[in-house]
């Protein structure tokens, strides 16, 4: 059996949004079980990276390659990437009025299970899983019956994202500024949910503007993104350095 030595291999990835080059030959390697934090100033391309990996329409790849567990990720359809195990927790989760969270989640979980050659869950078994996941992110059971994100507060939407992540059991989780707009309690709930999913195999890309989240989700590697490429990489102490100095010193150093 060949265990993929690499979870994600990004090589010289360049991407464009609305005609503007955002990512410029970005290279990054992530092994199973690792947590990588992506930091950087606004406009550096942090969110673009997550969206390109997930295959969002409008994000045009102009060069480079991405291997996910050894497979060509960029050749896959959006839903195929998801079923293979790439999960993007959205910065701004959208509402889908009238579609219950439960119905939505069951369809998603079933799609993932079918893809893995597993049978669909019975409604009863799924309910049990969903209730348990809701509890773990401190969402009331009532949220399962409500429309997807319909009338949810900012914090509830983010917790809902983490709940989805728990149910879908992805191999690679991309958290796109999940901390934005969260109070400290919600932040801790989200972080506890993420930490509970760290099992030595699952990998995480945590995109954030602030160091604060990394007090709770401690990364193995921190990368600073500037002008579409990785300007600096280091351990968790790099995040603290950024917090103290801001981002402008990067430019001063001419990177």
């Amino acid at each position: 059996m060949k265990q993929a030595a690499s979870m994600l291999e990004i090589r010289n990835l360049s991407a464009r949004v609305e005609g503007n080059d955002i990512l410029r030959q970005l290279t990054l390697s992530i092994r199973p079980g690792e947590v990588h934090a992506i930091m950087g100033p606004n406009g550096a391309g942090k969110s673009t990276l997550g969206n390109v990996l997930a295959g969002r329409p409008g994000y045009e790849v102009t060069g480079g390659e991405v291997l996910f567990q050894g497979k060509d990720l960029l050749a896959m359809e959006i839903e195929e990437r998801a079923r293979e195990g790439v999960f993007l927790a959205f910065q701004y989760p959208v509402e889908i009025p009238g579609v219950s969270n439960m119905e939505f989640l069951k369809a998603a979980v079933d799609a993932r299970r079918r893809h893995r050659g597993e049978s669909e869950l019975s409604s009863f078994d799924f309910m049990k899983l969903a209730r348990d996941a809701a509890k773990r992110v401190s969402l009331d059971q009532a949220f399962l019956k409500r429309g997807v994100n319909e009338g949810f507060s900012g914090g509830e939407k983010k917790r809902n994202e983490i709940m989805q992540m728990m149910l879908l059991e992805p191999s690679l989780c991309i958290l796109d500024e999940t901390d934005s707009g969260l109070d400290i309690d919600a932040l801790q709930v989200v972080a506890a949910g993420v930490n509970a999913m760290r099992d030595g195999q699952r990998s995480f890309i945590v995109v954030t503007h602030y160091q604060r989240l990394l007090d709770y989700i401690v990364p193995d590697h921190v990368h600073v993104l500037a002008a579409g490429r990785i300007a600096r990489s280091g351990g968790k102490e790099l995040a603290l350095e950024l917090e103290a100095k801001g981002y402008s010193w990067l430019e001063d150093e001419g990177v």
Partner: protein, 497 residues
């Protein structure tokens, strides 16, 4: 390739050069599954409309003199009327002289006494449409009247219904068996001269269902009529009359399909509901007439007049899911005549390709403390046009009347249109009228969220649209709510591009 809103305002390039809208567009375009034609010998009247044709239809049904006079009166009125043009639809005027006004399978000429005597081809047609007419195979708890072109083929469960006094039979038969009831109520809600198509229908109506629920009886099963247009160049002009006597309850459902043809075919029905004191009528429609092809060729012109009158404490609910027809012109309405009566209208109208729909309701408040609720959901895709047109009228005597209207439009793609024409007339200061309207689009972001969670685009769109329609679907009888959801899925296929 075209940029629809599904691929949004952003550059619509993906790694593999495919936008979301193209994905949706490339979804398999299933054929209209009810579009087959049944090879059967029919007696079809020569095309054209004059008094002789009306006398022929009346004679064919061995009608009493009063009914022939009634038809002729309608015909003479119709000749003086003009085809209405105020609806937000456009189509070449119908050549009424080119249509045939009566067509019946030849095998029906001898009036089969039981299912065993009915032409197997006819039974097979309904079985193929998912409507088995043998009672033991039928949906439990649903009685069906099957109308094929101009005649009723069979009505199931009649004996069982008659045990509790419920009459459910073809209207042509009711004319003979229950002449007083028919004479009393026919045209009492939709008069012969009500409008152009109602007058035409009154003159030439061929068959349809008649329902009478006696005092205090709760009809033990769902009643339904299934309309099928089969013969070429014919119009279908059915007439349905439902009378719910004091304190009775009934739930009724109609379904409609037609073969796929290049010519347009006319369907001009009239439905009259009478809910006497304390009675309740729930009338649901799943309309799936052939909508025409992707280029707008063919399809049914669905010009229908539906109206109910509510006496004291009575309630009428119209629920409709309209996915078919090239053109829909239809306003199921309630006259809230009695004090404390209630009218409801729940509607989903979906148009795709080049379909046009102008549909809505009229709620006429006459009695005190009358209440009405309108929930209309319009979904437009392709190059279709969909309009909601509704009238809420509160007359001077309608103390304490209330209306709530909610009108939502969902657009899929950027070449379709949704329009809202609400009319409110209040002559009583105590009335409370609320109107809410929204327009939204199936957004890129919604689709992307679904796909990122592993759903394919087809499933995602149907889920989003079903969610949008939820408030209406929950009003449908349970057996049909699932059906309606599926119908929507099929109707939406290839909806964007």
């Amino acid at each position: 390739m075209r940029d629809g809103p599904l691929c949004g305002h952003r550059a619509s390039h993906r790694h593999r050069g495919e936008s979301v809208s193209e994905q949706v567009e490339s979804l398999i375009r299933k054929d209209y599954s009810a579009g087959f034609h049944t090879q059967i010998e029919s007696d079809t009247l020569r095309p054209g409309l004059d008094e002789d044709v009306i006398r022929f239809i009346s004679a064919k049904k061995e009608e009493p003199q009063w009914l022939l006079e009634w038809r002729l009166k309608a015909f003479r009125a119709w000749q003086e009327m003009e085809e209405p043009t105020w609806a937000h639809v456009s189509y070449p005027l119908v050549d009424f002289q080119a249509l045939s006004y009566y067509s019946a399978p030849r095998s029906m000429a001898n009036k089969p006494k039981s299912l065993d005597e009915v032409d197997p081809e006819l039974l097979a047609t309904y079985a193929k449409l998912g409507i088995p007419l043998h009672e033991q195979e039928a949906l439990a708890g649903v009685a069906v009247d099957a109308v094929f072109d101009s005649v009723s083929v069979v009505t199931t469960y009649r004996a069982k219904l008659e045990e509790v006094g419920v009459i459910f039979c073809p209207i042509s038969e009711a004319v003979h068996r229950f002449p007083e009831l028919v004479k009393k109520y026919l045209g009492s809600v939709v008069p012969q001269k009500d409008n152009f198509y109602a007058a035409l229908n009154s003159a030439v109506f061929s068959d349809g269902s008649f329902v009478y629920i006696p005092k205090g009886v709760r009809c033990p099963m769902e009643l339904s009529t299934y309309f099928r247009i089969n013969e070429v160049k014919t119009g279908q002009f059915e007439r349905t009359l439902i009378v719910a006597d004091e304190g009775s309850h009934v739930s009724y459902l109609e379904g409609c399909t037609a073969p796929m043809r290049d010519e347009n075919q006319l369907h001009a029905a009239v439905v009259e509901l009478v809910a006497l004191d304390d009675a309740q009528i729930k009338y649901s429609t799943v309309q799936n007439w052939y909508p025409g092809d992707k280029e707008g060729k063919g399809g049914i012109y669905n010009f229908v007049t539906k109206r109910g009158v509510c006496h004291r404490n009575a309630r009428i609910s119209w629920t409709q899911v309209e996915t078919g027809s090239a053109i829909t012109w239809k306003y199921p309405s309630c006259i809230l005549k009695g004090d404390n009566s209630v009218g409801e209208f729940y509607s989903v109208a979906l148009t795709n390709n080049l379909q046009q729909a102008d549909t809505g309701t009229k709620m006429i408040h006459l009695g005190k403390n009358t209440r009405s609720t309108i929930v209309a959901k319009g979904i437009s895709a392709g190059r279709s046009q969909s309009a909601y047109r509704g009238l809420v009228r509160i007359n001077a005597g309608a103390e304490g009347a209330r209306n709530y209207t909610q009108c939502d439009s969902l657009l899929i793609g950027d070449r379709c249109g949704a329009h809202t024409f609400p009319y409110i007339e209040s002559r009583n200061a105590s009335a409370v009228i609320e109107h809410e309207a929204t327009t939204s689009k199936v957004s890129d972001d919604q689709l992307f969220l679904c796909q990122q969670r592993g759903l394919d685009a087809e499933k995602a769109v149907s889920m989003i649209v079903n969610g949008f329609c939820r408030e209406v679907f929950k009003e449908l009888p349970m057996e049909f709510a699932v059906e309606a959801g599926k119908l929507l899925e099929v109707s939406l296929e290839g909806s964007v591009g």
